[in-house]
């Protein structure tokens, strides 16, 4: 993936005429410098020959590499390198011909390529410096890409801090549904006379749920334990209402209980599972919540055996909210995957990088 972005960036960079002109000036200047240096210390003592040779090599190599890459647009570094190698080899040979032609036509110099292995020297030198040059430009662009990515990451982080407040407010508004609240209250009222103990525990569950969901603006992180006990309270309330129609299981390995985790990411998924999955289903079903740590990712899955999605169901505010918050907190590394649960129902999985928790 990363490779693809890097190579794509090269083409994007080169699509800009300004960058091309700057890079071209670089080529001319470095070829001139090279010609001077070779004249002073190299085997060929004529500046004119060195200058014409280095410029014709430089310009030919640059244009051939540039155009072939811009047309083919390879996605991987391997392919790109392969193309560059072929390009440079061809370009050096063509450059040599151009160089000889210019020297003969304009300056009446006929270089004897056989003497002292002059031809071989030009070819080897051309190849060497061409590869060096191409490497230099690609690295330059790559570094620029990296820097831009770092800048992007920085702005993402500041944006995140800014948006955090508004996001947490939005979550709060989405949470406490009047239907849920009234239903729970009527249930408690009904239970007070007939089963006071059940009524009491339902009231305690509601208190626990409200305390956590109402204090959302305060903590940035809670532990998985705290989050799950809130979910458990929420599920227990529904369990009393739906009786045998709702069963649930929470499966978290012992070493993960104290793991930190952003609050209120799971609740909307559980709410969806009940509201769209189990509540409208006559026979009811089961919700299984499972946490695992794998490849540096913490994955938490909420699976139900309910009705599942129909194509035309409007996605709840909850899902949009969760995705938005995952994006704010973890960028592309935080994901929400929604799948069909076999044989029926929905499985929603949150994936977050362990290192950023």
């Amino acid at each position: 993936m990363e490779q693809q972005y890097e190579t794509k960036y090269i083409f994007k960079y080169w699509s800009n005429i300004k960058n091309d002109v700057i890079d071209f000036i670089y080529v001319i200047i470095s070829c001139t410098v090279l010609a001077i240096v070779v004249t002073i210390i190299g085997p060929i003592r004529s500046f004119l020959v060195n200058f014409v040779a280095s410029q014709s090599f430089g310009i030919t190599v640059t244009s051939i590499v540039f155009w072939s890459l811009m047309i083919i647009r390879p996605r991987t570094w391997e392919l790109l390198l392969f193309i560059v190698v072929i390009d440079v080899c061809c370009a050096v040979l063509i450059g040599l011909q151009i160089c000889i032609f210019i020297l003969q036509y304009f300056f009446n110099i006929v270089p004897d390529l056989q003497a002292n292995g002059l031809g071989l020297q030009l070819i080897i030198g051309g190849l060497l410096f061409s590869f060096f040059g191409v490497y230099f430009f690609l690295t330059k662009i790559r570094l620029k890409y990296r820097n831009e990515m770092i800048d992007k990451e920085k702005t993402r982080r500041t944006d995140m801090e800014k948006e955090n407040l508004s996001a947490s407010l939005k979550v709060l508004q989405a949470q406490i549904e009047p239907h849920f609240l009234f239903n729970t209250l009527s249930n408690i009222l009904s239970l007070i006379d007939t089963k006071p103990d059940t009524g009491k525990s339902m009231l305690l569950d509601l208190t626990k749920y409200l305390r956590t969901s109402l204090s959302r603006t305060l903590p940035e992180k809670t532990t998985l334990f705290q989050e799950m006990s809130m979910i458990k309270a929420y599920l227990d309330i529904h369990k009393i209402r739906m009786d045998k129609r709702l069963n649930y299981k929470i499966d978290v390995p012992d070493n993960l209980w104290q793991h930190s985790f952003p609050p209120m990411l799971l609740q909307p998924l559980v709410e969806n599972a009940i509201k769209h999955g189990l509540e409208p289903k006559v026979e009811g079903g089961e919700i299984v919540i499972r946490a695992i740590e794998e490849n540096n990712l913490l994955k938490i899955e909420v699976a139900d055996t309910g009705l599942g999605f129909s194509d035309l169901d409007k996605p709840g505010l909850g899902i949009t909210n969760v995705r938005e918050r995952l994006g704010l907190l973890f960028g592309e590394k935080g994901r929400l995957i929604i799948e069909e649960n076999k044989p029926h129902g929905v499985r929603a999985t949150i994936e977050v990088p362990v290192s950023e928790l």
Binding site: H179, N183, L185, R241, I338, E339
Partner: protein, 256 residues
């Protein structure tokens, strides 16, 4: 004469509670059955021929309103609801009996006295209620489904499982050889639905076809430029790939 009633509610505790309340406020009323969903309710109406049905609106399977449509004219109906604003307004207007959860004694007494009066004055239940309910149902459907007749989820095969992506998250759809590519910020997926089918099923307000093989999510468009050949070049937010707008669809981007 002793009247018979059944209580229909998917929540057991609420049935028990209403039964207890009725026993206190109307001891002569015989509760001959309790149903936990619409189907059970219809069976019980058949079996016991009750005079009154206390009917919860929100239930799994057949809703209370669906049940009411079937039994209107057979028995008198008292709706029970927690928070269905639209329904309550309609009932208020049409003077259909309803109770709001949690049911209070005062409100229940009111309902009972009205029921008693009606039962004594005319033994046959009113039939016009069916019309009202059909209307309420239509209203409800309109309210919950308004604008959602379009495709909302894209289901894609992902290895062993079927992934479900909300359409809002799709950046654009692109026709491939056999399949259609679904491009999102997360990557790309394949679906079997063709661009042609998609263009008919997606909300045209939110998704525009810009090319024979491309449908784009309007909210993801960053800007539109022109190429040398007179086609449009579309840049998307947070994406490096550009899309081509063929001349046929360029009118979509004409300035207002």
């Amino acid at each position: 004469m002793n009247y018979k009633a059944i209580i229909v509610d998917d929540e057991k505790e609420l049935r028990t509670y209403l039964k207890k309340m009725l026993a206190e406020t109307w001891p002569q009323l015989e509760i001959c059955g309790e149903a936990a969903n619409g189907k059970e309710a219809l069976k019980m109406v058949d079996a016991f021929a009750p005079h009154i049905v206390f009917l919860d609106i929100k239930m799994p399977g057949l809703s209370g309103l669906d049940v009411a449509k079937n039994i209107a004219g057979i028995c008198r109906i008292v709706f029970i609801t927690a928070f269905d604003q639209y329904a309550v307004e309609a009932f208020e207007r049409e003077a259909v009996d309803y109770l709001i959860k949690p049911v209070t004694k005062e409100r229940l007494l009111q309902t009972i006295s009205r029921l008693k009066k009606q039962l004594q004055s005319s033994p046959e239940p009113p039939t016009n209620i069916a019309k009202i309910i059909t209307q309420v149902l239509a209203n409800l459907q309109e309210n919950t489904n308004a604008g959602y007749r379009y495709l909302q989820w894209i289901k894609t095969q992902h290895k062993e499982s079927v992934r479900i992506i909300p359409v809002e998250e799709v950046d654009y759809f692109q026709a491939g050889d056999k399949y259609t590519l679904v491009k999102t910020a997360q990557g790309e997926e394949l679906i079997k639905k063709s661009i042609k089918e998609l263009s008919q099923e997606l909300d045209p307000q939110k998704f525009w076809q810009i090319h024979r093989g491309t449908i784009v999510n309007v909210s993801r468009i960053e800007n539109v430029g022109r190429s040398f050949t007179g086609r449009g070049i579309l840049k998307l937010k947070n994406r490096s790939d550009d899309l081509t707008v063929s001349r046929q669809y360029l009118h979509l981007f004409k300035q207002m």
